[in-house]
Subunit: 321 residues, 2 copies
């Protein structure tokens, strides 16, 4: 079994060898810019780890991983336009560095290059891989639309919020693992299990993200507690609270949400506590986390093959930053 | 051989039977909106006509045609954002009717559905079809980027302008014909010829469009002469003139271009005439048109099989409106 870091290095090499045409300079400069900003390359490396657990990393695996990374970067470029974000990982976003039209177009062309990579796969399970990929890509778009829709809905239901984070982020992690497993010729039960493992890890991670924002240790997270509250974000806490049958406290929460009180963070968290949101969210994260590991246990592969994935998930889900 | 109108009807039926999910309502409402605005469905019908000339229209042909139409509509939605266009075919554009984020996202998801249709093709030449499609889609993006880049370039070269219109519009017409021919199991020489036929028809059509805008008969075009001149568009006339080695007249043209003289249209056309642009553009259109028909003549199919395509091209290129 190869480690996360080894496989990440292998993927980085593959990405470095991939190049875009020179012209039009702005179009492909924008593509290079978003890819150069980097990030952890978590999706492609998950694809490699999964393939490595089932069989080995070959050209098809590397190219599928690259397709997943191009797709992810395309979605980042378009999301940054929609979210009017100026900065990503300390660098100007594509629409800031170039222009909005060029950002739209470079996202589009990245998506097309994604499909060209997939079209060149030699696997006889190519159709199945592209089908998983398409289903996932559609879900990512649906998740982003739901997220935008929620901005104008006061009482977003907890179930809808969880569906949104599942679509917007978890399914792509899950699909990355599944595609690696298909290329490793995994059988259906294992494909389902590794997909669900990724899905639950993603959900646990997102829920934890919300949790740490409100209840994290500033000395560990390096961020001020309550950033989401101050930004009026509809987090899992907000959705859970507005779902509760306690008119008085829900109204108090909405007052805080719409106001700019000096003690907004503390007052909001007090309502979270009173409505049981803190416990609910903590347990939800634990629940997703347990479900993730239970999926790994279902799989027919030898335990040691899955060890690197287990370690990665443990690391991701036990982080306090 | 089936006529353009018969095949258009067949395609319309197929499109009507295609449906998007209900939710998220805005995302898929936007997809339905752009498709409902209609248009001549020229690209999918070209695909059907080509397949019909080589063999017959089957499910793969109808689904490839649908993929081409979805792709075209995706590019319209994104182009309208980039061009800040409020109206398309008398209806509000997607970003006007919904929002810019939803327009970006609905274009993205249309593109993904395009690939899902292609992934379901049963043809054993599927890989070749998707490869033609990808190459074309990339070129369409490159053409749109060139078009935007030209806005800030004073002396756009004629050759660059022609390359831009080729990429932005002609290659998709050409690819529609070629994909139909691949599905009809055409041999390589015929695929090349029908592709080039489409490419030349597209070029001739675009050049003619510029020509009619400046020299058309208002009673036939129904539009005031000189719309492009008044909108300061960099047309084939503009590019040809600024390429000429006549400093005095080129400077006069730029003065007109940057100004708002009452007689701007007449004064600009006078410069076109003096620099020989009118003749050049007229001959260029004739040249492309002749090249288009010459490609049809190269093909190994019986003349009568190609008759509907020949008639359609004749009609498109002889129009004076």
């Amino acid at each position: 079994m190869q480690s996360f870091n080894d496989l990440r290095e292998q993927f980085s090499q593959h990405l470095e060898n991939y190049s875009f045409p020179e012209k039009p300079a702005a179009l492909y400069g924008a593509c290079r810019h978003i890819l150069s900003i980097g990030g952890k390359r978590i999706r492609p490396v998950l694809c490699l780890m999964s393939a490595d657990a089932f069989a080995q990393v070959n050209d098809d695996v590397l190219n599928s991983a690259l397709a997943l990374e191009l797709f992810h970067n395309f979605s980042l470029v378009h999301d940054d336009i929609m979210d009017e974000a100026d900065i990503r990982r300390g660098q100007p976003t594509v629409h800031k560095k170039y222009s909005e039209p060029t950002a739209i177009l470079s996202g589009d062309v990245l998506n097309i290059y994604t499909y060209e990579l997939l079209n060149e796969l030699s696997s006889d399970r190519k159709k199945e891989i592209i089908s998983v990929f398409n289903q996932t890509a559609i879900e990512v778009c649906e998740g982003q639309q739901m997220d935008m829709d929620f901005e104008s809905i006061v009482d977003v239901k907890t179930a809808d919020y969880l569906k949104m984070i599942e679509l917007k982020t978890s399914v792509l992690l899950a699909a990355s693992l599944k595609i690696g497993a298909i290329l490793g010729n995994g059988k259906q039960e294992d494909l389902d299990a590794i997909y669900n493992f990724g899905r639950y890890v993603g959900l646990a991670f997102q829920v934890k993200d919300d949790y740490l924002d409100a209840y994290g240790d500033e000395s560990k997270t390096g961020k001020k507690v309550g950033g989401d509250i101050l930004a009026n974000k509809k987090t899992i806490f907000y959705c859970y609270c507005t779902d509760q049958d306690n008119e008085e406290l829900v109204n108090k929460l909405l007052e805080q949400y719409n106001g700019k009180a000096d003690n907004k963070v503390e007052a909001t968290k007090e309502i979270y506590d009173k409505l049981g949101a803190r416990d609910y969210v903590y347990k939800l994260k634990e629940d997703y986390s347990n479900k993730a590991f239970a999926e790994l246990d279902k799989m027919s592969l030898p335990k040691e093959s899955l060890q690197p994935l287990k370690e990665l998930a443990t690391q991701l889900l036990s982080r306090e930053y």
